[in-house]
Symmetry: C2
Subunit: 299 residues, 2 copies
């Protein structure tokens, strides 16, 4: 049974809408605290401004692939989206990437000021761990989730990758350098989304390894697709400036190996991602289709 | 049995030295990852630049007050110091308090640049939860620690207090307003240090409540002492500029009620803190003495 790109696109959109309604209800809950209203408003704005919700959906579908109801992974899905959103807010700051627009809307610091944006990012990073700690799961699993997410986010993970990405600006990098940066900056958290979902389901070691391999390859393919779209994409459709990576001397695959070779690498990664899922049956079909879909936009 | 201020001062200094050697060994462990060397260096610099280590020592001594060996709380002590240090790094940023000096040394962004400082703060915030997740304690306690620390740190805790503190600059505030801000900005995390220590020891509900009351009063007294010292203190001894709160229109007790009334409130709070400890025996004597000691510098 294969799933067409059109089918998976609509399934992903549906899953994102379902997640959004849970997210929105969860945000309403903690936003009811009116201690620092504008801070909470900034957090809510950045969380709810939209996006494909790829990471939370991966957590939910990975949980389902391991045989549990995806609702077991809802707290992990909140957590991963909080981490992703925090990283966007801080990345967009003037001292970092200095972006005014994100998903077609003003970035957090443009709308709420820099101080509030810094604290909103801090707040979301903190809230991610609060979400995990309140998951209705056995305590051992919650501890494993916390360990996984902090490891994926911290200086040996995404935050380390962001620093490397900044440090690399304007430098001449080869394919290995770019791969290392992309693996940390993007793929590590996407891999983590899959592992979190599996952990919520009480996955076996074999299943977790399969999800790790899948997530890492998928994450890298996804980032290369982003790089390619930055060169070839349509700014109106993307909701942000294009060709800015190049202008800024950012480490990208197209800059290191050219657009055509980037696409070949990306397609190979998507295929590798699918192959990692061989330990699963048809319950992982959505994950398989997703690996084909995330590169389609750039193929 | 009472403990003199001279005795508690030397006990606190000794406990801080012991903690520092554990902290240093722990930092060496994760700093061995050379993925983003300057980022890790910035995290290490800010963590190890010194300080009284009041929060981690409170965690260790609260654990001991509940009858456990204080070593059970070492991961919680690391975590609380990571949170405290992250908050200082971000607070010192140009967009927030814009401070060049901290503990007599250049602030993180002065030494490593703003982007690295933002990411170093993010890294330490993340590492706090990693420290908890790797604590050698029953999983239920680790989950309780994670819940406590995220709650104390997040938008309904310290980060919310920092936002209020910034928002209050230049406004005319009464005693209640200032108390609310100080309670969130400072006392919430100090209270949390005590609760984390108790939780590591498997404290009873009565013991946890006592530690909460103690920590909240102590934290508020501590912040008022800081406010008073900002007006009356010697800049050389404090390692930072004094009288800057006033210059900046910061919410402080002296600004709201005057220096003399601030001192009265501070002394009452220190006494209240001690009284909260009545459920404990002599094993809480160091905590009692600490309540007297933290205000002595400003009395």
């Amino acid at each position: 049974m294969t799933t067409t790109n059109a089918t998976i696109q609509s399934e992903l959109a549906q899953a994102a809408r379902d997640f959004d309604s849970h997210l929105s209800a969860w945000v309403d809950q903690w936003a009811a605290n009116r201690i620092a209203p504008q801070l909470v408003e900034a957090m809510r704005y950045s969380l709810l401004v939209g996006g494909k919700r790829l990471r939370p959906v991966l957590a939910l579908w990975s949980c389902a692939a391991c045989g549990s109801d995806s609702s077991s992974a809802i707290s992990a899905a909140f957590a991963i989206e909080c981490i992703h959103t925090f990283s966007l807010i801080h990345d967009d700051l003037p001292a970092l990437d200095d972006d005014d627009l994100r998903r077609g809307q003003p970035t957090c610091h443009k709308k709420f000021g820099e101080a509030t944006a810094i604290l909103a990012g801090d707040g979301l990073l903190t809230l991610a761990f609060e979400a995990l700690a309140s998951a209705k799961l056995p305590a051992e699993r919650v501890v494993a989730l916390t360990r996984e997410l902090s490891d994926a986010t911290g200086p040996a993970g995404m935050i380390g990758g962001e620093w490397l990405d900044l440090d690399a600006e304007g430098k001449d990098l080869d394919e290995d350098d770019v791969q290392r940066i992309h693996t940390l900056k993007t793929a590590r958290l996407i891999r983590s989304a899959c592992r979190l979902g599996g952990t919520c389901a009480g996955a076996s070691r074999e299943q977790l390894n399969a999800l790790s391999g899948y997530g890492k390859s998928l994450g890298l393919a996804f980032q290369i697709a982003d790089d390619v779209l930055d060169v070839e994409g349509d700014p109106a459709r993307m909701g942000k400036r294009t060709n800015k990576d190049n202008a800024r001397g950012k480490p990208t695959y197209p800059a290191a190996v050219g657009v055509e070779k980037s696409k070949t690498i990306m397609r190979d990664l998507a295929k590798a991602a699918e192959e990692h899922l061989s330990v699963f049956g048809p319950e992982a079909n959505r994950l398989r289709a997703l690996a084909r879909y995330v590169i389609e936009r750039a193929a």
